[in-house]
Symmetry: C2
Subunit: 107 residues, 2 copies
DNA sequence: CAGCATCCTTCAGGATACTG
DNA sequence: CAGTATCCTGAAGGATGCTG
């Protein structure tokens, strides 16, 4: 059973496995400001397609970072929000924002 | 001239453009502990190939994150280290390490 | 509205061989 | 040792159409 490489020893690699992806970071950034509907995310995450947004939301849901709430209405309404674990990523995002601003000012 | 999307407005996207890549994060992590030779990086960045390591180092050099020092010897000796800008990424890496550890302990 | 199903393209990254 | 040069594959992601 050498296929248990799902859990790397190194902490950074764990983090990368969960959010080491451009789209995921952008989705989390937008969810940090509060609950969003699917269509809102489609608009706020510039350039993402339905398929990609869906698959990433599913993956993050499975990882316990995002929760999905379906309202049994017509037309359908689905809201996504960060779980406590997902929200705990905020420090990482914050430092990325801070660094990005500093880097930009040096250009 | 709509091809000027090289500099996104959003700080997070700037950061992602420079280190939004699994390999780059791992390379930076290893350089944070000090100057490394090419072969040392090949070993410490588990699983990376020569070509990929080279291309990422070049990109990070161009971005001003990494400096490359060539010693005119035989056999060749090349050392890579973080620039001040590159080192300033440490808080991001630190928060990723911290988060990774916390997430792991919840599994 | 919030998706799922398909098909198709692209290119990051891997494998291999060669060199100053 | 530290690369460069090719070739090649897979899978991430884009485009489009359909539906509960």
């Amino acid at each position: 059973m050498e296929n248990m490489k799902k859990v790397p020893e190194c902490p950074v690699e764990i983090t990368l496995q969960l959010i080491g992806d451009k789209w995921k970071v952008l989705i989390i950034r937008d969810l940090l400001t509060g609950t969003k509907r699917f269509s809102e995310l489609m608009r706020s995450v510039t350039g993402i397609t339905q398929k990609v947004l869906t698959s990433h939301l599913r993956a993050m849901e499975a990882a316990g970072l995002v929760s999905r709430k379906v309202y049994p209405e017509v037309p359908p309404k689905v809201e996504y929000s960060l779980t406590e674990t997902g929200y705990s990523l905020k420090p990482i995002l914050d430092s990325m924002v801070l660094w990005g601003m500093q880097y930009k000012s040096k250009l």
